[in-house]
Symmetry: D2
Subunit: 135 residues, 4 copies
């Protein structure tokens, strides 16, 4: 059980820069989409979490960008949960170019679990149990 979630997307024109390739910072926006789909699969979705007053802001992130991605390229974002604490979680991502399977980019994000006042709070029990099965 568990395993990564796969989210497919296409490079938008506005995500490219004057070098003709995807601007590196946009990868973090894709990681977020991968994470959203990961949490939707494991459930409850992040939208539901926030409605319950639980937020997972990014406190650390890293990325490596190996193969230039271009406008209209199809890519797959593979998302895994790799670490789960009482009030933190870490995800890792792999961005694969669809047409040749090239591992184009990767990275990770560390999240704090906080309430609406940005104070550390524990993961809701049901979510924590489900996430534990995914690590």
């Amino acid at each position: 059980m568990g395993g990564p979630s796969i989210h497919r997307l296409r490079v938008r024109y506005g995500e490219t820069d004057a070098m003709g390739v995807v601007y590196h910072a946009r990868l973090l926006d894709w990681f977020e989409q991968g994470r959203t789909e990961f949490l939707r699969r494991v459930g409850p979705s992040y939208k539901v979490l926030e409605a319950q007053g639980v937020f997972l802001p990014v406190v650390k992130a890293d990325l490596a960008y190996r193969v230039p991605l271009r406008y209209d390229d199809e890519v797959e974002v593979e998302t895994r949960l790799v670490r789960l604490g009482a009030v933190t979680a870490e995800f890792r991502y792999l961005v694969r170019r669809v047409w040749d399977g090239a591992s184009a980019a990767g990275g990770g994000t560390v999240h704090a679990c906080v309430n609406a006042r940005h104070r550390p709070t524990r993961f809701p029990l049901v979510l924590h149990q489900r996430l534990r099965n995914e690590v």
Copy 2:
């Protein structure tokens, strides 16, 4: 009293696209900066407005993009208030390239004045009086 506000900025790399020029949608981000500086000059600032529960979401916007702007170009955003109703306001913007004064882009935004629940609300009296002097 009255007259436009001028805000100077430089084109960021991440604002360019694969054509080598500023991606058109980023102009709206610049208009927002011009508007922020306009309201700061007239006062109270938009930050203070929001703290008072008054929001000015964009309900309409338009732009014209005439001269390609490139990375590191310095531009000036000139912001004017052109129309003020009880619960709406309209701003117009001009984007001038600094080195040659070229009128590179322009546009406008129409705003609704709403409360935290997105319900129409009147401008605070002090702000409305000050804005009237600017139209």
Copy 3:
């Protein structure tokens, strides 16, 4: 033949702003995605066009934002070609919220057909013929 293209997407977290809703400028990024899928259907795709030295920069754009869209909302972007000249084209867009069908936003973009040096150029003949069937 003819008719609009429909492109479905989900609101990304990074597309929202401090009002808790989609930041208006991001709508233009979605319009671009709708246009990309429209041209892919009619063919040749915009990627292929650029490879042939034909570019369609946005010279004018407008938008109306009626219903606040939120993180994780599914929306459909409906794209139509409404005007086709020798060296210009105009698209119109409608953004519908999927769960209730609300017409949340709309707008349009006017494009110039230019070559790699940003000089006006005619649409490639095949593309022009195909686009004419779509207006």
Copy 4:
């Protein structure tokens, strides 16, 4: 000689997200601005470098986001060059909130020096000499 470059900016509304704070990915856009001003001071500017066919794409990046930044906050981005190889360079950044001096965020970027075809190339000699004085 050397030392960090300081670049001051204000949080744009479009850089915030539904949590009411700056979306983490936008920090990378600020790092780029810091880097641009760093290179302008050391010279030649990055714009001039690109005109000479030298590009410095980001191949790795990391960030830590400690103190939530909000719309209209003034911040200073402090940029240092910390490592310089024959075909790579590493910058580190610190983002300080102006009103209280809080160290709100930080991070780094590793760059490859490449030519217009994305092939590794050496830094131009003059630039390399100047950068060596900054490490």
